[in-house]
């Protein structure tokens, strides 16, 4: 006896929803998945009619599903949004080349305008070149910091009102866990927010319409919809701590599938004790981007790369910011400390 869909009770179920455990047919799954994203968008009031929204597109499953669902919901529910794709070219041979091809196909499939901003054009460095200098150990620091700013710069070039990213429930839960492990209370408080207001010049508001969508369901959705996406992980692997948080979350999910939502619920309900010091947000005195230090992370990293002192942006070298700003030369011992990169 085939299992019947628990929603329509007519068709054969083809999958068991990782999120709820219900057996659903293909159509009912699509319907539920799309409706849930719609409900999230409406409940959190993510967009206003007439806005121009940039979909951060990497060619991966999350952003491909996001682009597809955003276009579909925009038409189905008459959001009145002008959608476009923004892609960042980090300059990673063999990874980005292929995924960018996917994004370009997506552009045609979804008939959305596409803007590609490259690290090389923005910073004068490709990720490949950065890895050649800093090695594989800290490259993700660079990639994460640069990508965040690159998206903003791309969005500003395109005059976009908002950026939406493909972060899913797993990503959010994982970030909650990671911030607990790192004791980063400021990020812990921020990381469950579904949208960020504009934090200053040069920063475009962001939101996560897939915040409550399980990664497994995104994969199923992409698979059954036969969406065109690029499935290889970044060849420069993520940092170890995030890896631990990820493994832990997967194990939690295997014990109790609701764990992903449970962790997010926890994150949404944390309250920080009064009087706990939070970093004050200011702006970078070189590029104007938000920063809690005199120089933003990306400018420090860049300075390090350009001076051949790659460790500059990795450790805590806030003392040196003044020197860098005023173009003073560093002492020999300072140089020595910043030069060596242990692999």
């Amino acid at each position: 006896m085939p299992v019947l869909c628990s929603s329509c009770s007519e068709k054969r179920a083809v999958l068991k929803r990782p999120k709820t455990g219900h057996s659903l047919c293909k159509e009912c799954f699509f319907g539920a998945f799309e409706e849930e994203v719609h409900q999230t968008i409406v409940a959190a009031k993510l967009f206003k009619p007439g806005e121009t929204v940039g979909v951060a597109a990497s060619g991966g499953k999350d952003s491909t599903v996001l682009a597809h669902v955003m276009k579909l919901l925009n038409e189905r529910h008459g959001y009145g949004l002008r959608l476009m794709l923004i892609s960042v070219d980090e300059g990673i041979t063999g990874y980005r080349d292929d995924s960018l091809e996917t994004v370009k196909r997506n552009q045609q499939q979804y008939e959305l305008p596409l803007k590609i901003v490259s690290y090389e054009e923005l910073y004068g460095w490709t990720m490949d070149a950065i890895v050649r200098q800093v090695g594989l150990k800290n490259n993700c620091t660079f990639c994460g910091v640069f990508r965040r700013q690159a998206l903003d710069r791309g969005a500003i070039m395109l005059k976009v009102d908002k950026i939406c990213t493909g972060h899913n429930a797993d990503d959010v839960a994982e970030t909650v866990l990671m911030n607990v492990l790192r004791g980063d209370i400021a990020r812990l408080r921020r990381c469950t927010a579904i949208s960020t207001a504009s934090e200053g010049d040069g920063v475009v508001p962001r939101c996560k319409p897939l915040k409550y969508a399980y990664e497994k369901e995104i994969v199923l959705y992409a698979y059954f919809k036969k969406l065109d996406y690029f499935s290889t992980e970044c060849i420069y692997s993520p940092n170890a701590y995030r890896g631990h948080a990820r493994t832990f979350l997967k194990d939690l999910e295997s014990i109790r599938p609701s764990s992903i939502m449970d962790v997010i619920h926890s994150g949404e309900n944390l309250s920080v004790r009064e009087g706990v010091k939070m970093p004050v947000q200011g702006t970078c005195s070189r590029c104007g981007y938000i920063s809690s230090q005199a120089l933003c992370k990306s400018c420090v990293l860049l300075e390090g790369l350009n001076r051949g002192l790659p460790k500059l942006g990795i450790g805590k070298h806030h003392r040196l910011h003044e020197k860098i700003l005023s173009q003073q030369p560093l002492t020999e011992s300072e140089q020595r400390k910043l030069k060596s990169v242990d692999f």
């Binding site: 849930e36 409900q39 866990l177 812990l188 609701s258 962790v263 997010i264 949404e268």
Partner: protein
Amino acid sequence: MLMRESGCLGQECWSREVLAGWYVPRTELGYPRCRTSSYTLYLPSSLITICMLFNLVLQSILFLPPQGVSQKAHKKLRFVPGIVYIDEGGAVGQCKEIRQKTTSELCEMFRSTGFPFYILPLEQVLDLPGSVVVAPSSLSDQPTSAYKAAVDLFLQSGGGTDVITQEQEGVSLPDVQDSQTQLLQQLMDSAKTLTAKQDLLSTLRQHLLVHTARTKGYSKLMLGDSCTRLAVKLLTSISLGRGAQLAEDTGFSDCRYGDVVAVRPMREYSAKEIAYYNRMFKVPSVVIPSLDTKTPDKASIQRLTESFVTKLQADFPSTVSTIYRTGEKLQTACRSSSAEDTDRCLLCMCSLDTVVEEASALQATLISEQLSQTKAPLITGQNSVEPEPSAAVGRCCSAEGPCEGTQVAAGCCSSPKEHEAAELRSLLCYSCQRTVRDMVSGRAAAVTRMKLRSQREKIIKNSSTTLISKLGF
């Protein structure tokens, strides 16, 4: 007097001052596994009850005064600790003989401390009045004055052991009826997952501890959590959806019970330091199995988290202290005396965290469930997305309290059974709802026998049924 001088019990300084007398060398040695069960310490000078988990930490506190320090130092502490040990053998499936052997060993151990002690089988939780979940607005004077009398006598006798010994004699090894043990086992078995079982067990243990403290007239419970244990607990709480209750679960003082405040004075010490201390002062110990003894890492969320933190600590030695410090920065929401008990979870007794914003993990989950079931109307159009307020808090048809029979008949809830399940959910916090969901549905939902009234307040205040009956007995 130490207590008076510091004048701020429930604060960090208290822990510092008291523990200054219980110097624990900050040296690292082998890694112990904590055992669970329970104890109480009593502070007569300000009527403070201290209960603790029976683990290595607790033993340190108990055994230092008589063994490591002179009687003079003991007196300087100005309190007579009382010990509560909860024998959970009935819940973990131990046979009667083993349980008796363990309790008599402990009995010897406790007796040697010279402190009054209570050894209670967990089965007693089955007989607790439903009111244990509510802080009585006025504690009955009886136990308090009885305790005061005992304290006075103790102080008069110059801190001698006469009074204590008397109290000790009266409380050893109560008999457990087989039928009660069976009932407890049935309740434990109704939890389908080890995660839910462990959660249920700790709830039952908490209830019995609080009840004991209350009826014996104590106002403070002392828990023996080390920072290692608290780091694990913090991450476990996050994983179980208890973010809102984190501060209560892991903070220095825990006010969720209202009249009885739980404190965690050992939280600055790591499990290693405590183990070292115990070894140095030859603190005796008894090995007591817990629910997850000899289970694989992925047997439960609690177990997984413990092994995760332990392994991470081995690679990154700052793991435990970092997680612990994270907890330090989180809010402790102590309830005011006027806080309504109806806003508290029936099981864990923390504030309900189920009234949430429209865009929240809880709402999203409810919507997913709705959309995956038969006859779920696919809501279309941007304006019709108001989530049903009823669903939001796990209630059924009306926002204020449960629906009456007529509404059930009118089809607001698809069945009376479902209606009762919704009813029970509305009394529980997010995480306890998850636990109950992991219990055999017949049990969890069989709240039929529970005499629910339309007002939640009335339910709790007027109900003569025990908590356990609410869970299906």
